[in-house]
Subunit: 392 residues, 2 copies
């Protein structure tokens, strides 16, 4: 035996996804990359804002010593203070640098939070459909996902949540704006969720934590904004990154923020700082910490993604696709015209259109289109989308 | 309950180390930072070589698109190829890009390798004294450390190793040059270790892996070089970083390399790439990958560390300390003149000298001096080192 049983299983289980990607690569090689329309990945096509490049240039010319040295595992205090100040512009609770841990992206942040709180076999409630990496992140810390249904418009189903919560429930994990649906939870929904979690925390005698994964917070459309989870419930963590709003996914920079009034805060934050260290992250990349301290109010031009969303929604609806118009992020999650979403995605692939079956997100009967791609890809794919829908 | 039982335990267990650091910080505040001589951390005091800054400046001016985007979880192919070419300059086996996974430092690399290979409760043999973070890294993946004695000069004790190896042994983890001893294992020792591991791999019917942690490979003295573990044994991983030789610890860039003839290589590498992703690292920071591809032959000026080593060894020996002169890295690991190393380190602290008890490395009766500090710190501390030794 070479790799562990668990990893062997994960590799074998994910082999159909890999086959799909390999088939995409094969098609690009055969037909030319410009003839294959790849909507499979959430890799932003927009370049970072020009101010990002200007800050990078400024930082590498900075003659001060120690800029690439180790630091507190929590991160640079000036960056954490800048994040706290930024959070204070749109949340009721008042944050300080001590409420922030800088992390290796949102993936790092989520692993830090989960390792901090989870005992083996404890459960985390996750509304479906959901970002499937959560399964791995929970398993890293021996946690168990407890997936729950949502309403047809992807808003919370509180009956399903209540049925799922029990004495082993350690947290509820939400993602807003949502990958894959683009759903943004409303303030009233979050308040209701907070009331429900307060009730069950009291009933079971320990906090059930709310973890909100918000890397798409700035990527919202039609003038809406993402309500504060911190305003809704005190036992709350927010994890996020600058991968999407600054188009820096390869640089692995993000943070975890704890509610300033979270129970037993000193121990919780000490746990997060320890976990950032012992998970091997050690600290978030130093230069990127320095950069984002000066870039917290920046973002890519969201109107570009909005235009892509509108073009795709309009065209696909006119072809007969059934789509819940996304309010944020850069994903569409239409219903597949046939029940078998894997077969439908294979049919799209025959048109050189690469998407992901909803089954991969706990949302069978749908497929995900990541529209963080060029207009040429969108326009080039539309005839194929129309033909495949007509076929069924 | 807030944090998990395990994390609460780790925080409480490490509280004496924290108290030590807090006492150091209190002394710096009370006496002035220049009156406190801090040898407690392996945070290189040398700035990165000037070529590092030049490469950074070049990279941020590069106008090409997509430089901060997602990439293969293994890392940039041009960086992996550059690492392979570099490894081919001092190892017999021939590496290709496919044998390399770029990681978030050596800590990330080690977690990736351990998660790839470990089933729960499997054991990893580690010679003492050792870098104590290994305990956490093993525990992350439910592995169990099996600590073994070494010879008085810190070379391998093969009898102790053979006694420790059993059917649950999954790997042997070594660190050369060693933290905390500065020991560099010899080619003959490594070959003997390889023979022993080949024997027991055969006996138990599956490879026992050798994992060599080598972030200090370039930091060696008196013209010695670090022999290749790849030349000694085929079932081998090397993990390393650019934290020490390029003084970039805050930037979290390193890699894991697998022996080109490791058994079941396709599965092993697929496992590593998957683990880099699911552990939340996703990929090594993109800009640092681009940078180190052009910096593989660079290092800080090692003669500066050699001078510091020589000055400290000479002075401490003249005061009566018993020291094995380190061959590499930037640590001294002298015997404490009394058996209780924690008490001895406390006595040094009373002289405003901050060091770490050997007990923290599985090496009681010793203390660790990290001499990656300014000459002023070394010179300022010498009288205190002399006084404390005289006291006992």
């Amino acid at each position: 035996m070479s790799v562990s049983n668990k990893i062997r299983g994960a590799i074998e289980k994910s082999s159909w996804i890999r086959k799909m990607f390999e088939e995409g690569a094969r098609r690009k090689a055969q037909y030319g990359a410009d003839k294959v329309f790849d909507f499979s990945l959430g890799n932003p096509n927009l370049e970072p804002p020009s101010k990002v490049k200007a800050v990078f240039e400024d930082l590498v010319r900075d003659p001060r010593e120690g800029q690439h040295a180790y630091m507190s595992n929590a991160g640079l205090v000036e960056t954490r203070q800048a994040v706290a100040d930024y959070l204070n512009t749109f949340n009721e609770p008042r944050f300080s640098a001590d409420d922030i841990v800088m992390t290796v992206g949102a993936g790092g942040a989520l692993n830090v939070v989960l390792k901090t709180i989870l005992n083996p076999e404890e459960e985390v409630v996750i509304p479906k459909p959901y970002f499937v990496e959560y399964n791995f992140y929970l398993d890293n810390h021996q946690g168990v996902p407890r997936l729950v249904e949502t309403q047809p418009d992807f808003s919370f189903n509180f009956d399903a949540m209540e049925a799922a919560i029990n004495e082993k429930t350690r947290a509820v994990l939400i993602n807003s704006p949502n990958n894959p649906t683009g759903k943004v939870y409303r303030a009233e929904e979050l308040k209701e969720l907070g009331r429900l979690m307060t009730h069950y925390s009291g009933k079971f005698g320990q906090p059930i934590y709310l973890i909100s994964d918000e890397p798409y917070r700035k990527i919202v459309y039609d003038g809406i904004s993402v309500p504060s989870v911190f305003d809704a419930y005190p036992e709350t963590f927010v994890v996020t990154s600058f991968s999407k709003d600054l188009s820096l996914p390869g640089e692995r920079i993000g943070y975890a923020a704890v509610h300033p009034e979270i129970s037993d805060k000193a121990m919780v934050v000490a746990g997060m700082v320890l976990c950032n260290r012992v998970l091997g992250y050690v600290n978030a990349p130093a230069m990127m910490q320095r950069a984002i301290a000066r870039l917290l109010k920046e973002s890519v031009d969201i109107s570009i993604y909005q235009r892509k969303r509108d073009r795709l929604c309009e065209a696909l609806t006119s072809f007969g696709y059934d789509i819940m118009k996304p309010e944020g992020a850069f994903y569409l999650f239409p219903k597949t015209p046939i029940a078998d979403d894997v077969a439908f995605v294979a049919a799209l692939q025959d048109e050189n259109i690469l998407t992901v079956p909803g089954t991969g997100f706990g949302g069978p009967g749908h497929f995900r289109i990541a529209y963080c791609v060029s207009d040429q890809v969108i326009e080039g794919a539309l005839p194929g989308f129309e033909r495949v829908n007509k076929k069924y």
